[in-house]
Symmetry: C2
Subunit: 564 residues, 2 copies
């Protein structure tokens, strides 16, 4: 159909095509990738779970509900435990272990984010883990596009970026918000080098110094860091919360492609809801009578700010008459931060019913919200449980955009989710479910989606995040296969170390035990062996960064080499 | 011809036009506005004067020479004495006196740039002028586009911006470098609000904190100010001079319109050669054997960096095969800074043979380099002496771009220079001149250019720039009419004050006396009266900001009300 129409146009007026006119491109859908930062699976009023959890009740996100009614909720979507690995996986199509970008990148070049000894939260010098392990050898400077400027740049993964392929195919590509693919001084720090035509506020920073216009988003002499948000001078000294400012900038940058009828790819990557947790005054007071503490109220207000942004974008698309040709992908870059006192509440519970949060290979760190709305393609108000990985978005988005025969310097690990989103949601839409729980468990057969619902999913965090060692976050790996999940606790391979359950492997049935409360490793030793072998093979194949035992200078053993 | 072709296309395939396709736009030329900051009339190896002056010999600008060979040199172009008034005049088409933006805007809102008492260059408290005058009431927050967000913004001039009109007409509009139309917290601080589709590094800042990648362009905790240059993280810690970094960004942002065959307007507004004067290491050493001091060598290296940028852009246009359809306008935003010890040399002589420099209403402050190359239209290697004003660029650029029937909320003061550039240069090209001096004096008749070569040109600086009062800069107005120029020395209207020649009016014949060395006021009292009347009428008509005498609370008299 598309090629037929093109042919007609070409016959009618070949000169126009010579002029590079948009006729060909107009058949492509617009794509909005709406990425939220540090945003947990239960942190909205639209529940991704089998039921409405208490945490869902702390939020008011009518526009996420609106999007859920229009599109398909991916109730079992995964991301990496921290930001940069997810973002670079989307941009490169490579699994984070494969790219060796397993941690977030520092703002400064050549400075690994891995914690080293220092003062812990109580002001006491501590170096427990770094005393045990030395940091792994990973790509501390992040992702680098395959451009001449990448020559000689050290400690980066080089890849043909997704956005360059979209741009080459005719998309007008807009970056708004947080980039964080690479450190300063590295080409990957600039969205322009990734193929974006426009960049608002994206660079090497992984969080904003401040969300407050009153504080110039951190652009003040006092306490300045590279996290001061750029491109926002018009809002300095005003009461404009950063989320709102970024949304307005996004609408401005859409003006060109919309008025010129050019297909666009808008990467709307909010800094929210990353720390610092600050009050979005437009919404804070409305959480006053809900029994929340100040931190919880602040966080809920930030979430509602993001929700309004989503709604404003949807309104804009409708007003411009292009909503019907615009795909919206909504996702978080990692789990919610469950160890941040500023968020209030009970520590380590903010992703409940999931265990732990950001940084962790437990479900709270990696299971994330995701929705996809492709007008006329995805079935409205549906749920699909098949797991997805961030690197899948790379081929998915290219297929959505009709980009074919693309070539990359890297091997792409992700698989297109188009059939999962489209045929899968349509299949779900034809089912009638007795309960949300039943709907929620809907898994699309591989024969329909092309995605094996039991494919191996690997997450790997061979790092120490904070100065204070946290067993439930640091030096963990995991593999998920269907309902089964193995967690590799690397610290417990060290003689004399007994953290968590004291064993190197924990086994969970995450269907039956969503909160990973019952370690079944001793009950199912064969399952442990099977998954340890699979995880070991994956890590070995990708030559995964592994912590090095300080006492021996040896890397931590691959999981299938550990004596059980 | 153009409309005829359009009609044919529309008949052949109306669907295409509905798609907003580029066919219509492809008939428009691309436009590069290459604006250099604080860059004086004799500060290049291509001489704008009747002869090669000693100052010209301190520079190596082969690409400016190249542009001069291709296009027309406007040897008598004018700008305002300081940056913001010129930039806002270009953007609004309003004379700076009319818009009441007669000084540069501070980075911070509601903080007039006018000097107040403080420590002078020698560390002595001084407030001579502010003791005499209070600052005038001017639009201290700069220019504001006519968008809803302009409501309630104080001390701004509201205007329909040039770039919005270009954008509305189909131009892809790119901002790279220094904006400086408005203070932080004001919509005009953002190029997006002015109609740009892309912004690299432009905001409220009027100078860069640093040109050095090694210093992160000022993005360091130590000594941070809002002048730290934004959008440049990929170059932090590298040896990339800011001029080079901005050029590379410009080439990246051109990728979209060039590959999509969309007409573009690139506003390439270099921060160079504004202070801080820093060594561009690529070129510094080549000035070692020229008898220059360190400051002069640094400055010459910065100028050559700008020259390379111009050349890189010209090379790019040629490589892409679009040079023949791209107009280049080269200009400086005000005269060279003649009172900056960091530039080296003898103070107050850097614009020689012109008197004084930036800030001053003497010729060094307002007579600036300008070249225009419109392939196939401007005659190559020509010179035109007819004076031009910055506000003229507003209707000129619209006419160049084929934008018709534009409407503005402001009254536009500028006149289109298209016939001057095109017919004027062609006329010059047909003449044969015996000398550069003769060529240089070529004035295009009004009947050809539509521009009266003797029209009144008004410049007005009712401000005190630095803490130390400088009579040759502060509180001056001027009117130029043909060869005659009247300078109104407002300080000398105050009883007991006797600065400069001690009289309120100085009269120069700037054709015979390019350096304004001979005040002819006492010889030609009728000419003084005539020009004082004309200047008074202009200032009165525009309700010009005037200094207020502290002792009486009265404004300084209009020039035609001064007792002679």
């Amino acid at each position: 159909m598309k090629s037929a129409r093109l042919k007609t146009l070409a016959l009618a007026s070949p000169a126009i095509l010579l002029f590079g006119c948009g006729a060909k491109e107009q058949t492509r859908p617009n794509i909005v990738f709406f990425l939220v930062d540090d945003y947990g699976w239960p942190e909205s009023s639209v529940p991704y779970g089998d039921e409405v959890y208490p945490r869902n009740l702390e939020f008011h996100t009518p526009n996420m509900e609106r999007l859920a009614r229009k599109g398909v909720m991916m109730t079992n979507a995964y991301a990496c435990p921290v930001s940069t690995p997810t973002r670079t996986a989307i941009m490169s199509g490579m699994n984070a272990v494969h790219s060796h970008i397993t941690n977030w990148v520092s703002m400064a070049k050549d400075e690994p984010a891995d914690a080293v000894g220092g003062l812990n939260g109580n002001g006491v010098f501590q170096d427990l883990a770094t005393d045990v392990f030395m940091r792994p050898d990973w790509n501390i400077n992040g992702l680098c596009p395959d451009i001449p400027e990448s020559e000689g740049i050290n400690d980066v993964a080089v890849a043909t970026p997704l956005v360059r392929l979209l741009s080459d195919a005719g998309y007008y590509t807009i970056h708004v918000g947080k980039a964080h693919w690479a450190s300063a001084g590295v080409p990957g720090a600039s969205p322009y080098n990734m193929g974006f035509a426009v960049n608002v506020a994206g660079n090497n920073a992984g969080h904003p110094k401040s969300y407050l216009g009153e504080e110039n988003y951190g652009n003040t002499k006092e306490g300045w860091t590279m996290a001061a948000v750029q491109n926002m001078a018009e809002y300095y000294g005003t009461e404009t919360f950063l989320t709102e400012a970024l949304t307005r900038e996004a609408l401005k940058t859409l003006e060109y492609p919309v008025s010129h009828h050019q297909p666009f790819y808008l990467y709307m990557a909010h800094y929210a809801t990353h720390t610092p947790i600050q009050k979005d005054s437009r919404f804070y007071d409305s959480y006053a009578d809900m029994g929340l503490d100040d931190g919880q109220m602040k966080f809920s207000s930030m979430v509602e700010g993001v929700d309004k942004s989503l709604g404003d974008l949807m309104d804009y698309l409708e007003e411009k008459g292009i909503a019907d040709n615009t795909i919206i992908i909504f996702m978080a870059d990692n789990g919610g931060n469950a160890d941040n006192p500023a968020k209030g509440g009970v520590p380590h519970t903010s992703c409940a019913p999931l265990r732990e949060g950001k940084g962790s290979c437990y479900q709270g760190g990696i299971r994330v919200p995701m929705m996809v709305y492709w007008p006329g393609k995805t079935a409205p108000g549906t749920r699909v449980n098949t797991p997805t990985m961030p690197e899948d978005l790379f081929p998915t988005i290219l297929q959505m955009g009709g980009v074919k025969d693309w070539k990359t310097v890297q091997k792409v690990d992700g698989k297109s989710l188009v059939d999962l989103f489209v045929k899968g949601s349509q299949l779900a839409g034809r089912e009638s479910f007795a309960s949300q729980k039943e709907a929620n468990a809907f898994v699309v057969p591989e024969s329909v989606s092309g995605i094996d619902p039991s494919r191996e999913l690997v997450f790997h965090y061979p790092h120490q995040w904070k100065v204070e060692y946290r067993p439930e976050v640091d030096f963990l790996s995991t593999i998920i296969k269907g309902d089964w999940k193995l967690v590799y606790v690397m610290m417990n391979t060290v003689p004399g170390m007994h953290v968590l359950d004291g064993v190197p492997f924990e086994l969970y049935n995450i269907k039956e035990d969503i909160g990973e409360t019952k370690n079944l490793a001793s009950e199912y030793p064969e399952k442990v062996s099977e998954l340890a072998k699979a995880l070991g093979e994956r890590l070995r194949t990708w030559d995964a960064p592994m912590p090095v035992l300080r006492s021996t200078g040896e890397k931590v053993a691959w999981p299938d080499e550990v004596d059980l």
